[in-house]
């Protein structure tokens, strides 16, 4: 039995220790935001946060996750009440097909939580592990800059608390 928290909620999962986190999120917990892209950690569609760091959930086995705190795109807000990152992506209409977007948001969230002042160069470098085949990169970059402003005015901490209680 592996115990960890997902979006602030304690979970107990009975899975083979080699099961990738992505499969547990999608198949056991019905959190379908993170996507299966390549299965090799090469595309970033599966990106979630583990203890505040962006990780490829498709290559992260459950054996590493005892007691860790996972955050997925579902933890950033809801359709009715999107968080600053989600709102920014909506306002910039950054998604085309949308397959990469949950991963993009989670990696950007990890960056901005650590460095709210991230420069354009920081954003480009940090997001370079995440691919978008539709080519909406310029909108994605605008959305992340907008999210940085939104998070500064909202404060990152309150968003985290809201998600824990909800």
């Amino acid at each position: 039995m592996i115990r960890f928290t997902v979006n602030g909620k304690p979970e107990e999962i009975d899975a083979d220790p080699a099961t990738p986190l992505l499969y547990v999120l999608r198949d056991h917990l019905a959190l379908n935001g993170a996507k299966f892209g390549c299965g090799l950690g090469q595309c970033g569609a599966c990106t979630v946060m583990v203890d505040g760091e962006a990780v490829f959930s498709c290559i992260t086995p459950m054996s590493m996750l005892e007691g860790r705190n996972i955050k997925t795109v579902e933890g950033l807000g809801t359709a009715q009440n999107p968080g600053p990152m989600q709102r920014a992506f909506l306002e910039e209409q950054a998604a085309q097909c949308g397959y990469c977007i949950a991963g993009m948001m989670m990696r950007a969230q990890a960056l901005l939580e650590r460095n709210p002042q991230a420069s354009d160069a920081d954003i480009r470098r940090y997001l370079s592990t995440n691919l978008c085949r539709c080519g909406t990169h310029m909108r994605i970059l605008r959305a992340i800059r907008r999210a940085a402003e939104g998070m500064k005015s909202a404060g990152v901490a309150p968003a985290t608390k809201k998600e824990r209680s909800g």
């Binding site: 990780v55 490829f56 086995p61 650590r114």
Partner: protein
């Protein structure tokens, strides 16, 4: 060198598989050799530069480097055969290091490794060095070709692993895949490779 261990090239070379001129030429021009490993850290720009140098010049360098190893060719060949025939080592222990290796690393580096062309770890230079520096950095940062260039690749596991997990994994890999004595202060070395700085320099 810049937080990486640069292995000896002479008879003290830690590589389990002795180098040959052909392998060294190919490594210096392509950045990877399938029985030694991939160029990482400050060796990457060296390969980048040598990839544009005429092959005969790189061959001359390799011939010189190989000549630094005083062991007779027959002895080197015997060592290569020994290492190659060691085959798949049996899984040992059931600690956290074993569990992480089996679930995260063995997919590519284990028995079915050919599918992804990953290195057999009993032949890995990084696992056989006098310090765990390079192995820690490769697991943490992955192996990433320079922007816009093709090259050997491995994903990074540093964001997912805690320091303790990385320590356990590195200690396990040394015990299982190397014939060398255990590294002494793996936990200290893990602490010393500064996480925040690596985030910035990763790419």
């Amino acid at each position: 060198v810049e937080g990486w261990h640069a292995p000896a090239l002479n008879g003290a070379s830690p590589s389990p598989m002795p180098w040959t001129v052909d392998r060294l030429v190919s490594y210096l021009r392509k950045g990877v050799d399938d029985v030694h490993g991939a160029a990482a850290g400050p060796m990457k720009p060296v390969v980048h530069n040598l990839s544009g140098v005429p092959e005969q010049d790189v061959r001359a360098m390799a011939t010189y480097v190989i000549s630094l190893d005083p062991r007779p060719a027959a002895e080197r060949e015997r060592q290569a055969d020994d290492v190659a025939s060691r085959g798949a080592s049996t899984p040992s222990g059931n600690g956290p290091g074993q569990a992480m290796y089996a679930s995260a690393c063995a997919v590519c580096h284990g028995a079915n490794r050919r599918e992804h062309g990953a290195l057999r770890l009993s032949q890995s230079t990084a696992v056989h060095l006098p310090t765990p520096q390079n192995l820690i950095r490769i697991i943490r940062e992955g192996i990433v070709p320079a922007e816009g260039e093709a090259g050997p690749w491995m994903p990074e596991f540093g964001s997912a692993l805690t320091d303790q997990q990385l320590t356990d994994l590195v200690t396990y890999m040394r015990a299982r895949f190397s014939t060398q004595p255990a590294w002494r202060d793996v936990a200290g070395e893990v602490r010393r490779t500064n996480r925040a700085a690596l985030q910035v320099s990763r790419r």
